[in-house]
Symmetry: C2
Subunit: 245 residues, 2 copies
């Protein structure tokens, strides 16, 4: 009887061309499936909770695969896979899950965090993991804009126009800016996200001068992509957590 | 009349072959002097507070140079130099100092910080900036060992044997381990450091099983290099600050 194994995966997205296997370029899925193929001696398909774009990082991406490997205990897949991986990609945990479990369809929510830093110059060791704010942000107003995102909305305004999905309605459970060390962090949790949605929201809020809660809420409710600001850079974004029942 | 300019410099040491210009390899000093040469149209010599080794990072290295540039204000050297630098190296600040000021000889103290992380696996985006502890450290005992370093001592035990310096006596002003976010940080401030001294101290403390304050103090007082443990990796070490009067 094959076992269903769930992995928690962390990566530094800087040198990856995103999660999903592409015709060209190094991808997280590609590296992981190559490692699994070496362990199994055949192709193994990995199902992720969601895709991340080129340059986006992850602390706890989740993905599952079916294994017929005769001997590796579920918890030891972590080590078995890590010995086959490059250093910018690590399996943080592996465990057996119900045969019907699917990392994408069973996910109850996803949480992203976006790291901003108000400074003249960003210290080089942080350069790939945050985005610079040129002026001190008005966190109180930004949080009123974030609050406007909460609940069920059609997020067409913040959806990449090239994405083909059935509809643009998502339920945001929480969205807020808060200080953490030297950073301003934007935390957003939803049942799902549209392609580049978090970066479009952050870019729009960052670019509003002056920040205007009513105008921001109006953008969201207009469901009009042309109203959004620029898309914030990938390097500030971390897939922070996937929640399951 | 030439001006004397002091720079605060930050770098991600990962891809540098240390501070000092070498016959081969990319160095921090080399990149900075090349930028200064382009700005001045001639060679400019930079005097640093101290050298850092290959892979060691800096938040605030200090270095000064004499300029006869006719037009760049002291505070604008920061920007003028940064436009010539790779992204893993930044000038954080530039200012004019007294003509006799020397970044190395006028430094009153140097402070280093070493980042340790007790975890099964280090998240990939932190991999170049800390070192993993396999077991939970006994911080109280480690701090008693750190306390033994304070004051004036001959640090021959923790000096790289290949270094040629006049003597091995240094005065440590402060040395302590403390928790900071997920890390255990070792902070040490002294009037000066011997080559690889911080990494030798950290490696020796990390490697002591069980930790033993008297044995550690005995190693220090023996002035015997053969008693030290292994040298901790460069990637955990940051030159944090240089103090001047």
């Amino acid at each position: 009887m094959p076992r269903n194994i769930l992995l928690d995966i962390a990566y530094d997205g800087t040198a990856f061309n995103g999660w999903q296997v592409q015709s060209a370029g190094r991808t997280v899925q590609g590296e992981l499936e190559a490692a699994l193929a070496r362990i199994h001696g055949r192709r193994v398909v990995l199902h992720a909770a969601g895709r991340t774009d080129s340059g986006v990082h992850a602390r706890a991406q989740c993905a599952n695969f079916e294994t017929d490997h005769p001997s590796i205990p579920a918890e030891k897949f972590r080590e078995a896979i890590n010995t086959q991986l490059p250093l910018d990609l690590r399996v943080m945990r592996s465990r057996e899950v119900h045969p019907e479990f699917h990392a994408r369809f069973d996910a109850v929510s996803r949480e992203y965090r976006y790291y901003l830093l108000h400074a003249d110059i960003i210290e080089p060791h942080l350069r790939d993991y945050c985005v610079r704010l040129k002026t001190r942000p008005d966190i109180r107003t930004w949080n009123r804009m974030a609050a406007a995102l909460c609940g069920e909305h059609d997020f067409t305004t913040f959806a990449s126009p090239t994405a083909s999905v059935e509809h643009h309605v998502r339920r945001v459970y929480a969205a807020a800016f808060y200080p953490e060390r030297e950073f301003i962090v934007f935390r957003i949790e939803a049942n799902g996200f549209l392609w580049k949605m978090v970066r479009s929201i952050v870019g729009t809020i960052m670019g509003m001068d002056p920040p205007d809660v009513d105008r921001f809420a109006g953008m969201l409710h207009a469901r009009d992509r042309s109203l959004a600001g620029t898309t914030a850079p990938a390097r500030g974004l971390f897939l922070h957590r996937i929640r399951y029942e």
